[in-house]
Each structure stands twice: as structure tokens, then as C-alpha cells.
Symmetry: C2
Subunit: 447 residues, 2 copies
């Protein structure tokens, strides 16, 4: 058992509630939905991500004998309940928006239909998995929009919040349109292209900077990108020019240089000039250093001749909006719609579907939030699709190519103002008449 | 192999640099130090955390045969280098501030002395581990300062950035003074006390709220904390009063109630009155819902009768400062001090020690940053201690009790203004004359 897949990676209240459900024999079907309640002002849209990891978690869900024995020893649970837990697996249904689908607040992206204890137990990890990748994919898409045509690489592993965050951020950024990641494990496990060259320490460990460049070029002849800012950026660029002929005669081509500190736009202009005058117009310029979509936009607007960006810390931590106000809420139990009315956190009851409508040009016009069963099938594309039935996946995982294409296609159909970094008017999400009527009925009933 | 412990959880440039070091036979001793360059304005001090996980990582560091074969297949590395990597283990030394030590910018908290390739390879995961727990411990200490004497519980797992973030945030918050966590795995793996009661879904799944309370009380008779805000907070408090006698006659005591939405201070006052007038003065009031140290301070300043707080999302994501500007930098190689001069990111060269000085009352007065070998041993307490030699730990891990006591003792000795939530004048960290002299010499040499 890895600590990432343990069923004990959950909040204690899931287990105490399950003891209650067990005592009462409450095992009828529950419907829960995961959605974002409210968007941060810095986001105009979200990209659904993390479903793949959720399905793996559901397929593998079980408590190990060691874990069960430990639970019994805590004195919190009855022996009958522990026995029951030893047999508990996820046997429910999941409907979901495919990864890479763009969505908006109040729209469920995952609907779970399962016996109440199962649907309850998975809450914490379900949110943990869907929230983070959705957070990062939605952030990464903004860098893609801010720097069209530029090569973007995730550099964030070191300041991501732990191992899984670094790995899942690499995945989420890649599916949102990044070209790759510095994270080797993401290439090993998922085939996401890994990029990387050298750190300042490599230069510092050598007594001479030009010598460090030459040694590195011989060690990595197909991947020569040289870091310029250890001591003096422009002086280092001049050294690149001076060593290039010697490397060329050894059959080694310098692919690029990287800037990592100071005024990146100004340095890029000076370095571009030095390289061009040194007959190295084909050498690309890379930039990194606490970048995000705002800085990318500003650098490119200022005409900085930068060809690619390493985007790290601020991407992997989603620094301008480090969490989303999301929830996984009970919508129906035992065939009866349920609604929470907590102040500022009220939910729309019942199992729901989202229909997306487009204009003649293919551009999206509005979404309609409905109950899954209404008298007339609404117009538009139904966004939640069946992905798991009886605890078994219905189809294999889509490829990254497919998910990345979905993101690109969908971003093209977004209303233009929503593609900008600034806050845009909210996307229209209407509620069906039947849904509003049901909410009124549920409120009447529980008054 | 778990993905959290893989040696491939690193940036590709570590491996490309190692190929270079291998080709050149650069295996002499390197000294790297981890420190925070600059503090965010919202933090007056930091608490060192994550050393335990770093030492485990170093002890276990190796590449598996599958990983090595995969590396060879990428075509990026020579066969000789892959063979070399198959034998690579961490055989170096580590000196560190013990977990729970308070520190300030520019002070190394971990110093690694090892053959250059080893010290280089570990960079990414070392930063990933030390950065996150230090980030969270430093944030958690602020809630402890804002709510003295209140029971504080980490509720953040669901919106933490992945599995490891949720687990390590629980650990970091606990060592900084929290009473426990909602995270069951943290109790299972580390013995951190887990707390938890019920969610809104438990109430919603029942047709009647009072019935849900009674059922829960019977299922968890030693842990009866009832959630009040599913429909109407004060109406639910009245139900608690009405069911209490019946539960009492069954030998069940209601321990507390929890508020999770709306104006928590106002609801707490009304609920306290209802409980007191209902002869339940001993029932505690808990509050939760996107809390942080600022809201805790404001709630308590307003006289809200709240006994404990669940602090979740904003703690586990360190929402007001989701990353720290930290680095792991080469200070010496092959006996020669090294210094990076990148704009805004210059380093102090050489292997260093931190001495802390106190006044007559035990309160701290200043720190002195020195080279490890200076002619006169400076006054004060040396903060970096030997923890690993030749890849082996010198002493067993300290207990949580010991680490928590260190935090409490150290916070007591901080200058008073630094204990407030507002930005305080920076703590005085002086540089020794020898350190300043060495920096000048290194600059001269590499000009």
C-alpha cells in the first residue's frame, strides 16, 4: 500500500458517519455531485481534470487487513462495522465531463451514484484529486492563451506542495497545452515529454564558465541549452558566441540559452543582438524565474525576443488563486432529492446534467443546468457522460492527444472576452424550470 | 516503488548535469545549503520542518532496474553513466536545524556535504520536502498565536494539493501546535490525533434533522459533536437542547456542536445562549469554514464564544503566501568557495553556521551568520547540528512531543512584535566579517 492510495487517506468524519449508516442499515442509493461553487475573480473558466486518477482510486478502493485491525484498535468503531468495511468496494456508477472539458460554476463535472456508504467514503479523496488537477489545468490554460505559439514547460516540481502535487501539476499543465515538464517521473510514468538543461551549480562547480559550457555540450550534444545568468548574462552570451565555432566543428549545435534572473525582457533583447551578430540567429532564447501568465503577457507585449518559457512555482501552486471553492454534495438519497440550505452554500437538488448550446459559427452561447430526467430532452450537447458502471470503467482512458485536442477545440469556442486574463462577464448558465421547481418542493418539505 | 520515493521524482537537468559530471570525473566534495532568500510580508518568522522526510529520502535513494533501463532507452545518457547511476547511493553528511527551530531569511536550515553528483541529484526533492512543511508549519504557528488556548484542528486534506500535501500539512500543523487533524492516515502513519464528526450529507440523508442527531449519537457515543447549519443553525441548536435529556438517560453526553457557514461569530453567540438556557453549558462550540489566522483573531476579538476551530483549505494551501522564495545552492566545491551573483539572487559563499544570541531574560536578540570555521568561535547557540554522516543517521527521529515543545519554547523567546499577525521589523541577522571577506575574495577571483 502506498500512502497515496490508502483508503485511510480520508477525513475521520467519513468513517464515523459510515458507522452511523451501518448501524441504521442506510445503504440505499445516493447521488453526489462535484462542482465549483464560486469562481475566483482571476479565472473566467475551468478545465475539468483528474478524472483518470479518480477512476483508478475507485477501482482500487479497499481497506487492508492492517488498516482494519488498526481501526478496530482505536475503539471508535464496532466489530460488526469493521467486518462490513473489510468487504466494502466501490460498486457504483460515475458520470463525468471528459478531462479537458471547459466548465463553469455550479456545473457538476462528476456525478456519483452508489450505495450511500460508498459514495460518502470517497468524498475526501475525490475532492482532493479533482480539485488540484482542475486548479492547475485552469491556471495553465491562461499561460497558453498569454503566449500563443511559444513553447511552455512546467518547471514547478521543487515548490509544488509535495510529490503528488508535482506529478499531477505536470499532467494537468500538459493536458492544458504545455509542451512538457522538467519532472522526469512524469515522463517515466505518463510519457509527458521532459525538458531540462543545467543549473547555476553546474557553472559554479567549474572554475571557468566557458569551460562549463563546453563540457556540458559534449555531455549532452543533442540538448545544448546554456544558462547565462550565473555571473553576468551578456558576458556569458559573448562566451557562447566564442565557443560556437569550436563546438560546431565537433558536430555539436547550440540549441538555446536560458535567462533566469534580472529584467528578462531587456536581457533577452541584448542577448538576441549578441547572438545574431555572432552568427547564431538559430539559437533560441528561453526564460524562467517565478513566471506566470501575467509576466508572459507583459514580456511578449514589450517585444522581448523569447522563444520559450519555463513556468514553475506560480503555476504548480496556482499562486494567484491557490484553491477553488468546490464541493461534493448529496443531491438525492433513496430516490428523494436533497438540498443543503447553509448560508452562502445552498445546493441545487437532484441528479443533474449540463447542456451546452452553440451558435451558427460553433461558438458557445449558453449552458443549461437540468435534472437528468426531464419531460423534454433539452437542446444542446450533454456534457456528463457515463464513465463507470457497477464499479467498472466503461472505456479505456483517453490519450493525452485526445484530451489536448479537446482543450484546444473548446478554448476556440469560448466567447472572446473569456480568453483574456482579465475578469470577463460570467458565462450564462441557466437553470431549467423543472430544477427550480424541485428546489422549491424540497425546501417546502424540509421546513 | 511508490511514486513519492522514486529517484526519478526530480528535474531532468539534475540528470543531464550528472552526465556532465560523470564525463569529467567531477566527484569531489560539494557543499550545498538550503535557505529562504526573502520572506513574504505576511510572515515574520519560519519554522523548520520536513527534515525527517528528507533523511528518509536520502537513506532510501537509489534507482531501480526498471528506472535505469528506461533512462537508457531515452537515448539521453551514456551506458557508462547508467552503470554508474545503478551504484549511486547517498553517502554524504547532513547538518541541520532540528525540526521546530525558528529561523529567518538567509539562514541555512540544511547543509549537505557530499560528492558533487549526489548533492546535485537530491536538489529537487530536498526543496520539495523542506519547502512545503516549512511553509505550512510557519502558517500554522500563526493560528496558534491568534487563538491561544483554543483547540485547533487541521481540516485541509480535501483541498490540499494532492495526497502527500494533505499528509504533510497535517504533520506540519501538528508540530507547530495544532491539536490534531481530520486526516485518518496521519493518525495511522504518525500517531497524530484524528478528529471528526459528521458532514451535512449525514443530516440530509435522514428525513429528519433531530433523528439524524440521535442516530449519530448512538453510533458514536464518545464523540458526539453535531453539525448545526445544514438548514437553520439556531433551529438546530434548539433541537440539540430538546434531544439532550433523552440521550443523557441513555448515558450519552453531547460534547459539542459545529457551525460551518454564515456569520460564525453571531451564530456562536446565539447558539451559546440557546445551549446555556437549555442547561447545556458544558457543550462546546466548534467553528469551521475557510478559516485562517486572520478570521480566528477577528472572531475572538469580537467575543465569539467559540472553543475550537477546524482550519482547513487556507492552512493546507498557505493561501496568503502559497510558496516561499527558497533555494538550495552550491557554496563550495573541491575545497573552494563558490558564489552565484545573479541579479536579486546572489548567495553568500562557503559552508555556514548560524549562532543565536539571547538577552538576560532568555529573549532572543540577534543571529550571526558565519563560516563554519572561523578563528574565534562566536558567542551564542549554534543552530545547525550534525544529523547524518556517511549517509547514516546519527540519532533517531525526535518525538512530536519534543518538536512541539521546541516550537512553544522558541515562540516564547521571539521579540514580541514578531508574534503578531502584522508585519514586524525584520529580525537582526548579521554577517560575520570573515563571511563578508570571503564573498569579496570569491567575486575577485571570478571577475
Amino acid at each position: 500500500m502506498s500512502s497515496n492510495t490508502s483508503a485511510l487517506l480520508t477525513d475521520l468524519y467519513q468513517l464515523t458517519m459510515l458507522q452511523g449508516y451501518f448501524d441504521e442499515g442506510m445503504e440505499q442509493t445516493a447521488v453526489f455531485e462535484f462542482y465549483i461553487r464560486k469562481k475566483p475573480p482571476q479565472r473566467n473558466f475551468f478545465i475539468a481534470a483528474g478524472l483518470e486518477q479518480l477512476l483508478l482510486y475507485l477501482e482500487q478502493l479497499e481497506l487492508s487487513p492492517d488498516e482494519l485491525e488498526w481501526m478496530a484498535g482505536t475503539g471508535r468503531f464496532s466489530r460488526g462495522f469493521i467486518d462490513y468495511l473489510s468487504r466494502l468496494r466501490f460498486t457504483g456508477d460515475v458520470d463525468a465531463m471528459p478531462e479537458g472539458t471547459i466548465f463553469f460554476p455550479n456545473e457538476p463535472i462528476v456525478r456519483v451514484t452508489a450505495p450511500l456508504p460508498q459514495a460518502q467514503l470517497i468524498e475526501t479523496r475525490l475532492i482532493n484529486l479533482l480539485h488540484f488537477q482542475t486548479l492547475i489545468a485552469s491556471k495553465a490554460a491562461r499561460s497558453v492563451l498569454a503566449a500563443p505559439g511559444k513553447l511552455l514547460i512546467d518547471f514547478g516540481l521543487r515548490r509544488a506542495h509535495g510529490a503528488e502535487a508535482g506529478l499531477m501539476a505536470a499532467r494537468a499543465a500538459y493536458l492544458a497545452g504545455f509542451a512538457g515538464t522538467s519532472n522526469v517521473l512524469a515522463e517515466y510514468l505518463y510519457g509527458i515529454p521532459a525538458y531540462g538543461t543545467m543549473a547555476h551549480s553546474f557553472i559554479q562547480a567549474h572554475d571557468d564558465e566557458a569551460d562549463a559550457f563546453i563540457q556540458f555540450a559534449h555531455a549532452q550534444p543533442n540538448n545544448v541549452v546554456l544558462l547565462l545568468d550565473t555571473y553576468d548574462t551578456e558576458a556569458a552570451a559573448a562566451k557562447v558566441v566564442s565557443i560556437a565555432p569550436r563546438l560546431k566543428s565537433a558536430g555539436i549545435e547550440i540549441k538555446g540559452v536560458r535567462l533566469d534572473s534580472g529584467d528578462l525582457g531587456e536581457h533577452a533583447k541584448k542577448v538576441r543582438k549578441i547572438l545574431d551578430e555572432g552568427a547564431l540567429p538559430e539559437v533560441k532564447i528561453w526564460a524562467s524565474g517565478t513566471l506566470d501568465e501575467y509576466l508572459l503577457r507583459d514580456l511578449l507585449a514589450s517585444g522581448a525576443p523569447i522563444d520559450g518559457f519555463g513556468v514553475g512555482t506560480r503555476l504548480d501552486t496556482s499562486a494567484d488563486a491557490p484553491y477553488l471553492d468546490c464541493a461534493y454534495k448529496l443531491q438525492e438519497y433513496a430516490g428523494r432529492a436533497r438540498r443543503k440550505r447553509s448560508e452562502g452554500k445552498a445546493t441545487w437538488p437532484g441528479p443533474k446534467q449540463v447542456y451546452r448550446r452553440s451558435g451558427a459559427d460553433g461558438g458557445w452561447t449558453e449552458d443549461l443546468l437540468t435534472l437528468i430526467e426531464e419531460d423534454d430532452r433539452p437542446e444542446g450537447e450533454a456534457l456528463l457522460q457515463p464513465v463507470m458502471r457497477g464499479g467498472k470503467r466503461l472505456t479505456p482512458a483517453p490519450s493525452f492527444t485526445e484530451i489536448r485536442k479537446r482543450v484546444t477545440d473548446q478554448i476556440a469556442r469560448l466567447p472572446e472576452p473569456m480568453k483574456r486574463l482579465e475578469e470577463a462577464p460570467p458565462y450564462p448558465v441557466r437553470l431549467s424550470a423543472a430544477l427550480q421547481q424541485l428546489a422549491r418542493e424540497v425546501d417546502e418539505r424540509s421546513r
